[in-house]
Symmetry: C2
Subunit: 122 residues, 2 copies
């Protein structure tokens, strides 16, 4: 039997809108999500879990209350649980791979109109 890998580029072609994370794989109770980002997100936190960001294209700045981290393609940063953060793109669209437990909401404990549907596969 020929099993199939999941190709990031093929999945991104099916994700037209920014700020709409889509699940592409699961590992135990964790999910791998792809997202396009463009512009500034809102301040939020996840009290119960760390959240891993891997940038595939573009430049991402994750603001935190006491500083920031900048990620380019081929870089990872893990935002610790309970740390308020705000992802912002620099100079155009970012393609992001996000890894976190199943059920984590993109707007964390802040909620509001930037909240995306959760657990949607592509």
């Amino acid at each position: 039997m020929q099993y199939q890998a999941v190709n990031f580029a093929a999945k991104f072609a099916r994700i037209p809108q920014p700020w709409q994370p889509r699940v592409i794989a699961e590992m135990n109770d964790y999910q791998f999500k792809l997202a396009r980002l463009d512009g500034e997100f809102i301040w939020h936190q996840h009290a119960e879990t760390d959240e891993a960001f891997i940038v595939l294209a573009g430049t991402l700045r994750i603001e935190m209350r006491d500083g920031a981290v900048r990620l380019g393609p081929g870089e990872i940063y893990v935002v610790p649980r309970g740390v308020e953060h705000r992802p912002c793109t620099e100079g155009g669209e970012v393609k992001l791979l996000l890894i976190e437990p199943r059920g984590v909401r993109n707007t964390g404990e802040t909620g509001g109109d930037r909240t995306a549907p959760n657990d949607v596969w592509v």
Copy 2:
């Protein structure tokens, strides 16, 4: 404060040997590991956990008892828990990002002389 992202290329420069996974980041009780692969590994399984493979460079074939999956750069595959598998490179070195719970041994339940030191950071 300027926080620092972890750059895959910079870390790979410090991992000269194949089949020696090195930890570069943690998320809750999970670890992100980089590894160079070259040639064939041994058959093994992890009874307690799934294991996620993301290929960054090269072509990886993961053989399973009833088939195989082939991954190129920008592709992910999750080997389910309890599934015997054997990673093999095709046509040269593979640079791999591995995600799994802390404490997982590279040779799983098989062990033996291909077992790498575990939980070593780079």
